[in-house]
């Protein structure tokens, strides 16, 4: 029997507010342990939470961008459990009345668009971090992260493959990045994902036994863990086995999931409305103000790139999956309108450099290794015939980390393409004279040596001759009797 997976994802996105959700402490990552703390986020006696308005604004932005209904009345609730990284013994979250509900995002899977629905988006505080000290056999607690605002974004079980899950996550992350509310860094934990997955016989409408997978620290981990779990569950059922409702952990090294706890040992969180915080009342004017301030979102921008710049869907998708890259592209195109070439340079060369320098892990690249104006000028030089595409690669490398215009670099290094017939003829004649053997081979019908001879011309001229012209002249000379 063939089985169909049914997948829903829960994303925790850390918000880019300067202050924590219930106190004024900084949310800065990587500070000295316990330096970004105060009595409120350290759970001292007597303290009270005060909701950071920016967090609500960010939640509304996320909700509007994902077609959610924004609740005019919602509540913060306490989720009670004991853990050393949870200073109050409860997490302030939302339960019955989340701030956003009933949304969807469009995800492109195998070239066609699919709607993945969102059950809800709610606000909550992050916990601190336990650090296990191997040497002293003790645990330390860092509360810097305690109280950092999170959005929990819960999808409906609309996802039908590991690949689809990957697309959903990337699209969701792009939206949050466009909104400038989350940096989307999975490795650093600012964008975390838990997956719920069950399988059922293809064609069946009833849901199978659900398993929750945790510890998914990269897009790859999500996809691999889901693939593993689809296989495990399908095989178990095929073999006549039964599945149990449980939470499983993804083991990155062994690439397997293993059981963490069963449903029976699941916590009873005893949610109830937090009496320290008033019900959250959001008025329509505020929602409309926020709606009016939303930026163009990835989907819309991708469509526009395809129509306005005649880019293939592949290019448009890649360029718009990051807002800063899309901005970069558009500013280059404004200077020199050859969108496809500029796109090729960005996707082929610039992305490689960004990846090497790990700049692609940032939400916004503040200092690009190459300015968009220079990128545009470089393409212009190629199109004008001033430099060859090959030479352009050298110029590109020389332009990195300098603000010098490419024309200047070309002039200084003497990299202009040689296109005048006399110079090329001289170069060709020299090569022909130096390689009589290959010339006679060519004349006796060996086509292959032609490219060798072209290569020799290019080499002798350090690649500066216009390759098309060199070809022409070479053929012409070779067709003449010696």
């Amino acid at each position: 029997m063939k089985y169909e997976p049914v997948i829903g994802l829960e994303v925790h996105a850390q918000l880019l507010t300067r202050a924590k959700i219930f106190c004024g402490c900084s949310t800065k990552f990587g500070s000295e342990p316990n330096s970004n703390t105060c009595p409120v986020c350290a759970g001292f006696p007597g303290v009270l939470p005060v909701l950071n308005k920016k967090v609500v604004e960010f939640a509304i932005r996320a909700g509007l961008a994902t077609n959610c209904e924004i609740a005019p009345f919602s509540r913060l609730a306490r989720k009670n459990y004991f853990y050393p990284d949870l200073p109050k013994g409860y997490q302030i979250s939302q339960y019955e009345l989340p701030v956003c509900a009933n949304g969807y995002i469009d995800v492109i899977v195998n070239g066609s668009s699919k709607q993945i629905h969102l059950t809800r988006i709610h606000m909550e505080e992050d916990a601190g971090k336990n650090i296990h000290d191997q040497r002293s056999d003790s645990s330390l607690v860092d509360l810097n992260r305690a109280g950092v605002p999170l959005l929990e974004i819960v999808s409906e079980p609309d996802i039908r493959s590991a690949e689809e899950a990957g697309h959903y996550l990337r699209s969701l992350r792009a939206i949050l990045q466009y909104l400038a509310i989350c940096d989307g860094n999975m490795e650093e934990g600012s964008f975390r994902c838990d997956a719920n997955i069950s399988v059922r016989p293809e064609g069946s409408q009833t849901l199978g036994t659900k398993v929750e997978i945790k510890n998914l620290n990269s897009f790859k981990a999500v996809e691999k863990a889901l693939e593993y779990e689809i296989k495990r569950q399908s095989e178990t059922l095929s073999d006549g086995g039964t599945l149990i409702q449980e939470t499983r952990l993804w083991d990155e090294n062994r690439e397997v999931t293993r059981s963490m706890r069963s449903k029976e040992s699941a916590h009873d969180y005893r949610y109830f409305p937090d009496p320290d915080l008033l019900p959250l009342v959001i008025d329509k004017t505020w929602i409309e103000e926020i709606r009016a301030s939303l930026p163009e979102l990835p989907q819309a921008r991708k469509n526009r790139f395809e129509s306005q710049y005649a880019l293939p869907a592949y290019d448009a998708e890649l360029l718009t999956s990051r807002k800063d890259v899309a901005d970069y592209f558009e500013s280059a195109v404004k200077i020199y309108p050859n969108p496809k070439s500029i796109s090729n340079w960005i996707i082929g060369d610039l992305f490689r450099v960004l990846k090497e320098r790990k700049l692609d892990e940032q939400l916004y690249i503040m200092s690009w290794p190459l300015q968009s104006t220079q990128m545009a000028e470089l393409v212009r030089l190629i199109d004008e015939g001033t430099i060859s595409g090959k030479i352009a690669k050298t110029v590109f490398d020389a332009m990195l980390d300098s603000s010098r215009p490419p024309r200047e670099i070309v002039a200084e290094k003497g990299l202009e393409q040689v296109s005048d017939a006399a110079s090329i003829e001289a170069a060709v004649e020299e090569i022909l004279a130096a390689n009589p053997k290959q010339v006679s081979q060519y004349k006796s019908g060996n086509e292959k040596v032609f490219s060798f001879l072209v290569g020799q011309v290019m080499k002798a001229t350090k690649g500066k001759v216009n390759p098309q012209k060199a070809n022409e002249i070479l053929r012409q000379k070779l067709s003449q009797p010696i």
């Binding site: 006696p45 005060v50 050393p84 013994g89 005893r270």
Partner: protein
């Protein structure tokens, strides 16, 4: 002159006239404590050096004049569930260990700014859970009127300290009657303000939706002054309400002509000590003689109040007390692993009544019971609130007894929690409804124990209940009586 015997407003006036200094006044209070507190046990912590230092600074400010605040240089006692920066705060629990707060509660900050002198921290029922101060993890406090009797609770230490002249006034907190019931037991004035009137920031939380800070004083005028000093919006407390604080003593016209006072029939039932019934009815007659119109009213859901309260309050408490886990501060028992650390620290740190309420609160919030208990209690709570809303269409304030009995014997009810819970039968509805209410002395029983009269007001209308209380106090001698210590 026995300076410690002065009221707050008398002392404030004399300090301004430089009849004596704040240091002399403070000395007198500490002298009184030395003389009496081995019998009363009102204080958990005394801060003599810091207090004398505050008094010295107050004297400098008093010399400068400039219309000083009424609290300047006045010795105040503070219930030990207020966080006081650098002064040990125990909440009468062992779980807090030797906890020294790193910050001041907002109300404490206000009093500091006004130049009040902090005498010390007073005893209470552990985590403010109780009606007799016997649930203190350290020792019980005795009633100054009869040291074999309880002072009431949970603010028993503050009430006893005020009654015994061990301070000029005190701060308490009231979640189900914890200011008013001990005020009644000790023959003083105690006021629980409207929920949201005074900041809760820095008060060790018991039941967040009901906890309020309030004054415990020797007379009604003091009560108005201390309330005015601590009331007001606090951006650190989302449940505090942003509306101006009136000048409460302006309400002291002495005139209550035409004011409609509601008498809820559900509050005069069998089980009440007959002397209390008599004293309260006398008080009502006196108020009527002074021009008030007496209206019988009904609060039909009164009978559910205790049950509702013990669901809502314990649910909130079970969560509020989770932070006492032995991790960051307070008591941590040595143990082999994390779970054992939690279990042993909390087992050793909390007393029996606190444990009882954590268990009850955990139960009513549990999956499968939440709807039957917590949600149902919330619905009943709304009905109780609505009873008052309806009643206030026909009256301006409500007059009732504060407690069904005068101070009972130490140990009398410790084995019977339910009997203990009934001590708050007249005060608890007020907390559920978030209303302001005041207790003031209205007589004595046959054994000489004080009786309290409760006046309940509309939301944020503390002025009216103070006005009624002041008018009553002006025509009665009760507040001038002192226990023979």
């Amino acid at each position: 002159m026995n300076l410690h015997a002065l009221t707050l407003h008398e002392a404030a006036e004399k300090l301004r006239k430089h009849e004596f200094s704040s240091q002399e006044l403070t000395d007198s209070v500490f002298h009184r404590i030395t003389q009496t507190d081995d019998k009363i046990h009102a204080y958990l912590t005394l801060c003599r050096d810091a207090a004398l230092n505050q008094a010295k600074k107050a004297d400098q400010r008093l010399r400068q004049g400039n219309n000083p605040p009424p609290l300047l240089g006045v010795p105040i006692a503070i219930k030990d569930n207020f966080l006081t920066c650098d002064i040990q705060t125990t909440c009468a629990s062992k779980i807090l260990g030797r906890f020294i707060p790193p910050y001041d509660a907002t109300t404490i900050k206000k009093l500091r700014a006004d130049g009040a002198v902090f005498i010390g921290k007073t005893n209470l029922d552990e985590f403010a859970m109780g009606s007799s101060a016997e649930n203190s993890a350290f020792f019980p406090t005795c009633n100054p009127w009869n040291i074999e009797r309880v002072p009431g609770g949970s603010s028993g230490g503050s009430a006893a300290a005020v009654a015994a002249d061990q301070c000029l006034a005190a701060l308490g907190t009231d979640t189900g009657g914890s200011i008013r019931q001990p005020a009644a037991c000790c023959g003083i004035v105690g006021l629980k303000p409207t929920y949201g009137r005074v900041s809760r920031y820095g008060i060790i939380a018991f039941a967040s939706s009901m906890d309020q800070v309030g004054p415990m004083t020797k007379d009604v005028e003091d009560c108005a002054l201390l309330l005015e000093a601590v009331a007001g919006y606090d951006s650190a407390d989302s449940t505090s309400v942003n509306r101006p604080v009136p000048h409460y003593t302006d309400a002291f016209t002495g005139n209550i002509k035409g004011l409609r006072l509601g008498i809820p029939k559900e509050y005069f039932v069998s089980g009440m000590q007959p002397e209390i019934d008599r004293a309260v009815r006398d008080a009502i007659r006196l108020l009527e003689a002074n021009g008030a119109r007496i209206e019988e009213i009904t609060l039909p859901h009164t009978e559910y109040a205790i049950a509702v309260y013990y669901i809502v309050a314990t649910a909130e408490a079970s969560s509020n007390l989770s932070r006492y886990d032995g991790m960051r501060y307070g008591h941590r028992a040595p143990a082999a692993d994390l779970i054992e650390t939690y279990m042993r620290s909390r087992e050793e740190g909390f007393g029996p009544e606190v444990k009882r309420r954590i268990i009850l609160g955990t139960y009513v919030l549990s999956a499968g019971y939440y709807d039957a208990y917590y949600l149902k209690a919330q619905r009943a709570r709304r009905l109780i609130k609505k009873d008052f809303d309806d009643a206030f269409h026909g009256c301006d304030a409500i007059v009732t007894p504060t407690a069904p009995t005068t101070a009972f014997k130490i140990g009398e009810k410790t084995q019977d929690p339910l009997q203990m819970y009934l001590s708050d039968i007249y005060t608890i509805s007020v907390n559920l409804a978030g209303l302001p209410a005041l207790s003031l002395p209205c007589g004595f029983d046959a054994t000489g124990l004080p009786i309290g009269l409760q006046i309940i007001g509309q939301p944020f209308d503390e002025a009216t209940i103070l006005r009624v209380a002041y008018a009553y106090e002006q025509s009665t001698p009760w507040h001038k009586e002192k226990p023979g210590l």
